[in-house]
Symmetry: C2
Subunit: 434 residues, 2 copies
């Protein structure tokens, strides 16, 4: 049995809505997926689904990068491939010629994410388990073998990683049960988009609390006066006990970040997310020092494990926000979970977009059962967007992610959605062009 | 007058056949260019040529990323575009949707490099000046306006940049003359490729000294025993006065780098280049501290000005190795030259590959005339590869780069070469397939 095809799809959702006449500088995102399906000739008929998340233009470039990985997989024996996903990861990431285009960052790295995640989806489907459970039941030695420790050993050695996993091995079964019974805490970004007026902000905050969320998030960074007013409203509605995170989406330089965050400090933001460039490790450390006790979080644009390593080495972040498709998929995220566990920093995944909630929940649940062993002070982001396009959409109840039970990585998009939102020739886009 | 076309070409040279360019991480590169020509309807007929350098596979992905920038340029008024290349740079780099694919790194960022450099080529051709001279004669205020200081202001403000340029303004004319009369020091990597045997190494070291070079470079990092033997040979041939740099091409983790470099210390390597991941700012700082007085250099894979900023803030590098097509072209390299000047660190450009010597010499010469004001302790890399494909190839005399005199950025590849090395359908590749 072999891998026989790797098919890519340029899928875009017109979330910016007013696309007629939209120009090149249209600031609104069109949530998109450079989507990949790995097909085999196995009689079970299972496919591996994965994607890289983008926000519109350039999704074709991302799909082209996934296409460039086709020769590494098509024709490979299926069982061997799926039993050595650590080796497959190294082959894809360290191809010397493709590596030049990163190295280990940006379009080529996200392409590896899409393909590696699709292989994990396939492996979990064939095992008949949701991915979080498949991973959480693997022996520590096998998990360590999935991780490439290159450039990490000054912070985390394979032996240390093994110790972390072995320490967590004891309570695994009990934690699985607890997770299935009670789910994993979520927080919601739904109330906090910049474009919402004050009434909508107030209403959505109330709704979020009513739905059981204990943390919300507000976007900030365009106008300080607006942010002060919005934070005051949010804090009034939420009271002192609901956590309010703020998210600047890389808007500031280091000095500006410190000033702005201090101005919002009276409203007790729980964390400040992406205060500056994700590349600026030293900048994050400076900001964290200057705005303490407000916590700094980042990760959705952190390109790889090497930047996360440094953020942790410097104590520059209080929360590590992994993203399922920014770094090179499951394997590299395991490396980051292990790094975070080593440094004792909670992982609170980035999600939203299209499909990011569906996939990243598996990694947080694996972390709870088999790596950190804890849900304390940990939340997965939740945004109520585009879940209806997935075969196994997330389920949120009382502000918590309910454990997915279907086999796989929850990445499978519905065939109708793949057809309708294909860019540029799917019916949704044709209609928008008219 | 308008920009009417942006044409891309996938150009690859089958250099892997001779192991030219072989190093510890890149055993078999096919030096390639994702090449771009900007065409206008101006009666002068000038075209702007630029490229992103890659080493083979994925060059099509890089070309696709350049294609994605076409809508931002085609149709734009020519004079306005060329008179505001700072604004054009911001438009291309900060497009909110494309930015997601980086941000400011990897394939999308190198695509901006290719296009921005092509626009500079066009601007210099229209001005009738080689680019280095065009830049070196610009008023300090105009140069500062080319730079995006976003994420830099904790290290370098626009006012500080202006001060640096104004201090250098005085001696510009005299330095231009000196440069034209005497050229700019080069060093050669030709002797040191890993794939060469000891006799070839010995012969090429002798030749390099005979040609007037005062510095050579050896690739290292696969076998310590081999490296010790090769360094011994090189030092014997070179004597104590010729500088020998070593280059590990990111082969090591931090601990391994320190051990390996110390083992080579008896042969007095001048600098150690790319000892570890280019993303590892803290790792470079640790290595620099541990191997002093051997100097650490990096840059050819440093993704943007933000990483360079941190390397300089930590004193992690003794040499900044800019690359003409890795960061987003001329504008971002000016930012890096200014940062290096602020921190008093010499810039020694990376070159080689295909066309990198041709273009990067302009930036080093501009640095000498108008930014740092110094050639002391500075050298431009030189490799004797593929220059015959360029309309205005570099000229090396007595181990020095002779100033280019032809208008433009020296990026123009000969039409016959563009045709012959087109991938996959050019005659050179057809023949290799047979």
């Amino acid at each position: 049995m072999r891998i026989v095809a790797l098919d890519t799809y340029d899928i875009r959702f017109p979330t910016s809505r007013n696309l007629d006449g939209s120009d090149a500088m249209n600031p609104d995102p069109d949530y998109s997926a450079a989507y990949v399906v790995v097909r085999t000739d196995a009689p079970d008929g299972h496919e591996g689904h994965g994607f890289a998340f983008t926000i519109g233009r350039g999704n074709d470039v991302q799909a082209a990068a996934i296409d460039a990985l086709r020769p590494y997989l098509v024709g490979r024996p299926l069982a061997e491939t799926l039993s050595d996903l650590g080796g497959v990861w190294r082959t894809l990431v360290h191809d010397s010629q493709l590596r030049w285009l990163g190295p280990e960052k940006g379009v080529v790295h996200m392409a590896v994410a899409a393909v590696v995640n699709a292989l994990w989806d396939l492996k979990a489907k064939r095992a008949g388990l949701p991915l979080w459970q498949l991973l959480a039941r693997m022996p520590p030695e096998e998990i360590v073998a999935l991780v490439d420790f290159r450039y990490l050993t000054d912070a985390l050695t394979p032996d240390e990683a093994l110790d972390i996993l072995r320490r967590a091995a004891d309570g695994r079964a009990a934690r699985e049960e607890r997770l299935i019974a009670g789910g994993y805490p979520a927080y919601t970004t739904t109330p906090g988009w910049l474009g919402y007026d004050d009434d909508k902000l107030r209403r959505l905050c109330k709704e979020a609390i009513g739905q059981g969320f204990r943390q919300i998030k507000l976007k900030v960074g365009v106008s300080l006066a607006d942010d002060v007013r919005r934070m005051r409203i949010a804090r009034e509605v939420c009271g002192p006990d609901i956590r309010i995170a703020i998210d600047a989406n890389q808007r500031w330089d280091v000095g500006a970040a410190v000033e702005w965050i201090r101005a919002l400090a009276p409203f007790e933001p729980w964390w400040v997310e992406e205060p500056t460039s994700p590349d600026d490790v030293l900048g994050h450390a400076t900001i964290a020092r200057e705005v303490a006790p407000i916590r700094v979080a980042t990760g959705e644009h952190v390109q790889n494990r090497i930047i996360f390593k440094q953020l942790l080495q410097l104590g520059a972040v209080s929360y590590v926000q992994i993203d399922a498709t920014r770094v090179a998929g499951v394997n590299e995220n395991i490396a980051i979970l292990l790094l975070a566990a080593k440094y004792g920093v909670p992982v609170c995944p980035h999600a939203g977009g299209v499909g990011l909630c569906e996939v990243v929940q598996h990694l947080a649940m694996f972390d709870y059962v088999a790596v950190s062993g804890s849900m304390d002070d940990r939340v997965i982001e939740y945004v109520d967007h585009l879940h209806e396009h997935f075969a196994d959409p997330v389920v949120i109840r009382d502000g918590r992610y309910i454990t997915p039970a279907a086999p796989g990585f929850s990445a499978t998009m519905l065939p109708d959605s793949l057809a309708a939102y294909a860019y540029p020739n799917g019916p949704v886009w044709d209609r928008h062009r008219m």
